[in-house]
């Protein structure tokens, strides 16, 4: 069975998110609790604002599946509901055709990364 992960509504008012980190390689056997992606949501992205509400989120698997395809990489900005990743429920099948359902994903707010060079603040 092919599963898909789309960018969920992480905060009311968000329209896009920026990929901060990809935690799993293509082909990885994902299990509940495995990290998939970190994202940054900047609510001032559409309306410039001082002290913008910038939040970071991590997407985490809630089911067992094999990661087959990713359309994103760190730094890429994606719109709400954009397809981010495809999975299959068995190791052998190919991720072809229409996905049968959404992958079961959880998300939680995380603290920002700490690289000064990248301009991040914790």
């Amino acid at each position: 069975m092919v599963l898909i992960c789309r960018l969920p509504l992480l905060l009311p008012g968000m329209t896009t998110a920026v990929i901060e980190a990809v935690h799993a390689p293509i082909g990885a056997a994902m299990a509940p609790g495995h990290k998939l992606l970190d994202l940054r949501v900047d609510l001032s992205g559409s309306v410039a604002h001082d002290c913008p509400p910038v939040s970071y989120f991590r997407l985490v698997m809630r089911e067992r599946a094999w990661l087959r395809r990713l359309t994103v990489a760190p730094g890429k900005e994606v719109a709400l509901n954009t397809a981010l990743a495809w999975f299959t429920t068995t190791a052998e099948e190919a991720a072809e055709g229409e996905p049968e359902r959404a992958a079961r994903i959880a998300w939680g707010g995380i603290l920002p990364p700490v690289s000064l060079a990248a301009g991040h603040q914790g």
Binding site: P53, A106, G108, L111, L116, A117, H120, G122
Partner: protein
């Protein structure tokens, strides 16, 4: 009955004032509540620049007076034919003449006290280039102050060190910081130091207090040589940012004088008796200067705004330092110890909003430990707890429990974007600040 609205005596006779034309904040004929700012003007210190006035000189260009209505009624006024245009800004436009009438109040009930109260506000510009005289206390200020001058002696000074939610709570929705200042006794003063460039966390505030003149000179010299030594060109915005960072590092807002104009003349209070701070100004990571050892805390969005040149200097000169909730507790304990015996008798610390407004987490698997370094809500809860425990040991520390207030109101209503407070919550926090100050015997109501 129709009662005259007049200029009042603000300073002793020996200290004449000049002022710009009045700028009205309401149309004539408006029905106004008590506590409304009716009009304001810029003030000129007409008795000259001398050493006596030196403490006020850095705020002299943004020194203003507002008339605050004390009795409800309908306000009438006519446009001053000698006003308008640049006279609305020029402090040399008019001589301040007490008892001169500038409007009338139409009211059914006779007033029990004065119709008007004067409020003085002052802003110290980050740069004199930042001339923004659009309104009352507008502009790019390194600190903003407001006080009631209707006293002979200074009263209590309440200081606040931004982050954004603290400055918003202090500024309030009424101009002149009246949400908090309204009703306070003559001589009471509010002082707000916003987070212009750097974040005022406990560690940097303590370092500012302890910094010697030699250390300040070393910081300035290091910045100058560091910025000149980078490869490439600094953009204009980077020079501005670097200047703002340096000004923050060299200042010490809790030790600087807070001069006031009062009925007795120029007065220097001992310093803030209470300080409002926030745990939102306590980042997970601060930066430590590799050679000089001082701390710098910057917001993420400020870092992302930096040009490449200034970023190069920061990367080269600083190393990141990650802090646990216990580290932050230790910083506050050290700050409180340093404040002990000085004028500051109360520190009001706003805690962090710790509920998740949009998480969808069935468990913490996949989130690296320690959770307080990964999940914002866990960190907020642990930091809140660490500081709550400190408050049980430190009688001078009181917690402004924004976390509980937001939960009471409903998070999406009180903090819609997950970090910035809406008006209802802001009003609750303001009430809490007034209550805590009153309980401490610091804030008294006006009796005039």
């Amino acid at each position: 009955m129709l009662l005259p609205l007049c200029y009042m005596t603000v300073l002793p006779e020996r200290m004449p004032l000049r002022h710009s034309s009045l700028r009205w904040t309401i149309p004539t004929g408006s029905h106004c509540r008590a506590g409304t700012v009716l009009a304001f003007c810029n003030l000129g210190l007409a008795w000259g620049v001398d050493s006596y006035l030196a403490p006020l000189m850095h705020e002299a260009r943004d020194l203003q007076l507002a008339f605050v209505l004390q009795h409800p009624g309908q306000v009438h006024y006519a446009r001053d034919p000698a006003g308008g245009g640049q006279m609305d800004h020029s402090v040399w436009a008019h001589e301040w003449v007490p008892h001169n009438e500038f409007g009338q109040l139409e009211t059914a009930a006779p007033p029990s006290g004065p119709l008007l109260r004067a409020l003085i506000v002052a802003g110290r510009r980050v740069s004199e280039l930042a001339e923004v005289r659009d309104g009352l206390l507008t502009g790019w200020h390194a600190r903003k102050r407001a006080w009631w001058p209707d006293a002979h002696d200074p009263g209590i000074v309440v200081a606040a060190l931004g982050s954004c939610e603290v400055t918003s709570i202090m500024y309030g929705e009424r101009p002149g910081m009246l949400d908090l200042l309204d009703g306070a006794a003559g001589g009471s003063q509010l002082l707000v130091v916003p987070d212009i460039a750097a974040v005022p966390c406990a560690r940097t505030t303590l370092e500012q207090m302890r910094r010697t003149e030699a250390e300040r000179q070393a910081i300035a010299a290091d910045m100058a040589s560091g910025l000149l030594g980078i490869a490439g060109v600094l953009e204009p915005r980077d020079w501005l940012m670097a200047g703002a960072i340096q000004a923050t590092l060299l200042a010490s807002p809790l030790l600087e004088p807070c001069p006031m104009l009062l009925r007795s003349g120029l007065s220097l209070p001992a310093g803030p008796a209470a300080v409002v701070m926030s745990l939102h100004a306590e980042p997970v990571r601060v930066f430590r200067h590799r050679r000089l050892g001082y701390t710098l805390a910057l917001y993420d969005y400020r870092l992302r705004d930096l040009g490449e040149g200034l970023r190069q200097w920061l990367v080269r000169a600083f190393e990141p330092v990650l802090r646990s909730p216990e580290d932050i507790r230790a910083d506050f304990a050290a700050l409180l110890a340093a404040l002990r015996g000085g004028p500051v008798r109360r520190v009001l610390l706003a805690n962090m909003f710790s509920s998740a407004i949009n998480d969808d987490l069935p468990g913490y698997a996949g989130l690296d430990e320690p959770l307080s370094r990964t999940i914002g809500t866990v960190r907020a809860k642990e930091t809140n707890l660490a500081l709550a425990s400190l408050a049980t040991e430190e009688p001078n520390l009181a917690i402004l429990d924004i976390d509980a207030m937001a939960a009471y109101l409903g998070a999406l209503r009180a903090i819609p974007d997950g970090m910035h407070v809406a008006g209802e919550l802001q009003s609750l926090v303001q009430q809490d600040i007034r209550s805590l100050l009153a309980e401490s015997g610091l804030w008294t109501l006006a009796a005039f």
